[in-house]
């Protein structure tokens, strides 16, 4: 099994739906330790993506990823826009001119995305950012791949690790992003960006996520 353009488009559509569904929850997480716009930002971006997503069928995966990147960069703003935008740009580069991506190819794409986020945002694991979901996801995917798993299992492993990484942000004190201004007070809250990153990996794994699973309450 491999990830085709159609499969990629379906996953992105699933992600856009998840963002729309959980917009308010992401806003509330961001109200607690940020400025209350993460859900709105992501929703603005992925609504714009969804509007032209179908037109991308027939293109290569890299083209789809580039389209998503450019749309995010020009619609989202805030921290999330450049971070996810750069992630998708790097992912597109990693996808090269392949018509479809096997498990190793998908993992390269995801790792490139993480690299993009880190290069743009300079955050390390433990800083209480989206990196805390993204990094363990790529790591778990890599281990699954190395252990001989197929694409579905690799993506499942990545999504599980992203979920865990998201939850693990709760006790952390933020060192990057807006939450860092709160110092100690940023503890005991789940990072909104880590939450939207888990939703991304969940969408790639074909998984629908409930509000209960996302909430830090």
């Amino acid at each position: 099994m491999a990830l085709t353009t159609d499969g990629l488009i379906d996953a992105i559509q699933r992600y856009a739906d998840a963002i729309a569904e959980h917009r308010k929850l992401l806003i509330d997480l961001d109200r607690a330790i940020g400025d209350g716009d993460h859900g709105e930002n992501m929703h603005r971006g992925f609504k714009a993506v969804a509007e032209q997503l179908e037109e991308q069928r027939g293109e290569q995966p890299a083209d789809v990823l580039t389209f998503v990147a450019k749309t995010l960069v020009s619609k989202v703003g805030g921290a999330a826009g450049p971070l996810y935008g750069t992630a998708f740009l790097r992912a597109a580069k990693a996808a090269g001119d392949a018509d479809e991506l096997d498990a190793a190819g998908v993992l390269d794409v995801l790792a490139a995305g993480l690299e993009g986020v880190q290069q743009r945002g300079k955050a390390e694991p433990g800083d209480k950012t989206m990196v805390d979901a993204w990094e363990p996801a790529v790591e778990a995917g890599r281990q699954a791949l190395d252990g001989g798993s197929d694409l579905d299992d690799v993506l499942r492993a990545a999504a599980d690790a992203a979920a865990q990484g998201m939850r693990d942000t709760i006790p952390l004190e933020a060192h990057k992003g807006r939450a860092s201004y709160l110092g100690e007070r940023s503890k005991d809250h789940q990072d909104p960006g880590a939450t939207s990153t888990y939703l991304l990996f969940a969408a790639l794994a074909g998984r629908d996520v409930s509000a209960e699973e996302l909430s830090d309450k």
Partner: protein, 335 residues
């Protein structure tokens, strides 16, 4: 949520229409990508000065576009930094051949988006010379390379005025950018809130606060502050803000300063003057001269009640640039 709006989605777009209708003598408005530009831009041979940031801080930045201050401002969604397309388009619109200065408030999003704008311009072979200066004057946040660093707050208003004046008198790009860094090195701010504010698309207050509590060390995005403390008399609150500023700035006897007492949006002016009074007395007690001042709502957080204090050390050049004519919707003198 109680707001004079039609639809949370259209808040920024409709306000831009209003600004265009009200201030057509001073500015023009581009709606997509969204930016406000002085009506005579680009001014040939003059360094262009632009800024941008989330909306909800009005009059910053759009109210500061005009002769002697900004050439253009890029408004993002409420509390969300604008996108690179806006910055690229604004940069092109104000490029009079002498380069463009980007004045960026230090927030992850603002910095990253301005950075991407520069990268994209480079990739597209645009040869406009751009320099970026990041303002980070908020002493409520500890400055460290391991964190996002200090926020850019009230000092930004002063930097925009002073750099705009330098550009207007004909300074070249490096001179204007270096001046901006000098301003940033000599300005410090700190803020507090009596109430939260409500972002239109969030629909709920940005934080909860007891009837007898206030937030000390807030920024300008409705985020909670460093600490929640019991409400105190205005004079004590001013001490809480001005003392860390003085310490960090190292202001001392004989220094000349500009004292800026800023309302967060929902503070009656009468209260700002009570605070100004105390701040001016504290400075007088320390032998620090308040040579210029600014009192009012210039960098706000929607309808938040609260204030920030900003202190800038002045020298002869900064004083001359401050006094230079300015004509924008929100700041105007000498013309």
């Amino acid at each position: 949520m109680k707001k004079l709006i039609n639809d949370p989605e259209n808040v920024v777009a409709e306000a831009l229409e209003g600004i265009e209708l009200a201030h057509g003598d001073v500015v023009r408005v581009s709606h997509d990508p969204a930016f406000i530009v002085r009506s005579d831009a680009p001014v040939q041979g003059k360094v262009g000065v632009i800024s941008g940031g989330g909306s909800g801080h009005e009059p910053m930045h759009g109210g500061f576009v005009g002769m002697g201050m900004l050439d253009a401002a890029c408004p993002g969604a409420v509390f969300t930094s604008p996108v690179p397309d806006q910055m690229q388009a604004a940069t092109a619109a104000v490029d009079g051949g002498a380069g463009v200065l980007h004045i960026v408030k230090n927030y992850t999003g603002d910095v990253a988006n301005f950075e991407m704008a520069a990268e994209m311009a480079e990739m597209e072979g645009d040869d406009t010379r751009v320099r970026s200066v990041v303002i980070d004057d908020d002493v409520a946040v500890k400055d460290s390379t391991y964190t996002a660093g200090r926020r850019g707050v009230g000092g930004t208003v002063l930097a925009e005025k002073l750099c705009g004046a330098a550009a207007e008198r004909g300074d070249d790009l490096d001179a204007v950018a270096d001046l901006c860094e000098r301003v940033n090195a000599n300005v410090r701010s700190m803020g507090m809130a009596l109430t939260p504010c409500t972002v239109p698309h969030a629909g709920e207050p940005s934080f909860e606060l007891g009837d007898d509590e206030m937030e000390i060390g807030i920024g300008i995005h409705g985020e909670p502050g460093r600490e929640t403390v019991k409400l105190e008399p205005a004079d004590r609150i001013v001490e809480r803000l001005l003392e860390p500023i003085l310490e960090d700035l190292g202001a001392s006897e004989g220094d000349r300063t500009l004292l800026f007492v800023n309302g967060m949006g929902g503070t009656p002016q009468i209260e700002l003057y009570i605070a100004y009074r105390k701040a001016a007395k504290m400075l007088a007690d320390r032998g620090i001269e308040v040579t210029r001042n600014l009192v009012g709502d210039y960098i706000t957080s929607l309808e938040m009640a609260g204030m920030s204090i900003t202190l800038l050390k002045l020298d002869d050049e900064l004083l001359e640039l401050w006094d230079a004519p300015v004509r924008t919707p929100a700041l105007r003198w000498g013309v």
